[in-house]
Subunit: 148 residues, 2 copies
């Protein structure tokens, strides 16, 4: 926010801008950004247990449930019970989902080209290091229990 012109505030602004850009690219295909990541996983690694996605996508289970049910509703993903464990669900691409993927641009590549073009590798890796460290510290605090 404007009164805190810090790395944190710019991380937020960057995140919102990139999400808006990605969703603009994906809108004609009726896909959201996280939905795209789910398809990406299924395309590159085949059918995957739903229980693995929260770690892969860095989201919580309820958020994943929303995303999956949207993809199932749209017919791009099938959600089948695991025969060996009735609790688990296996996600896989439908024929329609495979077909969609063929027509899809890669929003991440487009965004990175626009956003970080011309920035040298050293600067970029410094940015990654600072943000990664900050994220790990925050997550550690969050998991340690309530403080304030």
């Amino acid at each position: 926010m404007p009164h805190h012109n810090s790395a944190g505030a710019w991380a937020k602004r960057y995140h919102l801008a990139s999400r808006a850009a990605i969703e603009r690219i994906l809108r004609p295909y009726d896909l959201g950004s996280t939905q795209w990541y789910v398809l990406h996983q299924l395309v590159h690694h085949g059918p995957t247990a739903q229980r693995d996605f929260p770690k892969l996508l860095q989201i919580e289970k309820p958020a994943l449930s929303d995303v999956v049910s949207a993809l199932v509703r749209k017919g791009f993903v099938a959600q089948a019970p695991d025969p060996n464990d009735q609790r688990q669900r296996i996600l896989s691409l439908t024929a329609e989902g495979k077909d969609l993927w063929q027509r899809l641009p890669d929003p991440i590549a487009l965004i990175l080209d626009i956003a970080f073009e011309g920035v040298d590798e050293d600067s970029l890796s410094l940015v990654v290091n600072v943000l990664q460290t900050a994220t790990e510290r925050l997550n550690k605090r969050i998991n340690e229990g309530t403080n304030a």
Copy 2:
């Protein structure tokens, strides 16, 4: 996301972690992070026209409408029509809102302490520069019209 271990992905993760941390701090007070920023503005700059907030908080009008109606519902903010222009609304703190602010910790200061403690000024300003440039490029593209 894991397969794109880039500055962009870490900006997203940082943003989500910091929002989670801020909301954890604010939860006991029944406040969300954007709601806190609205109160912050009203505390430090007095009654403010609602039309000014989208630029101040970098959000769109419908998102602001949600935030304002939550604050009004909770009794922390009053929303009065501008006598000179019936279209506009003036936001101001209620007595209850002022009272709440006295009891509130500053979540931003707490987060910045945790996240960026020990990071030198030069690194921090490089991070700000890279993310700021990236954000401006993305926003420029978004506003230029649809491409992809």
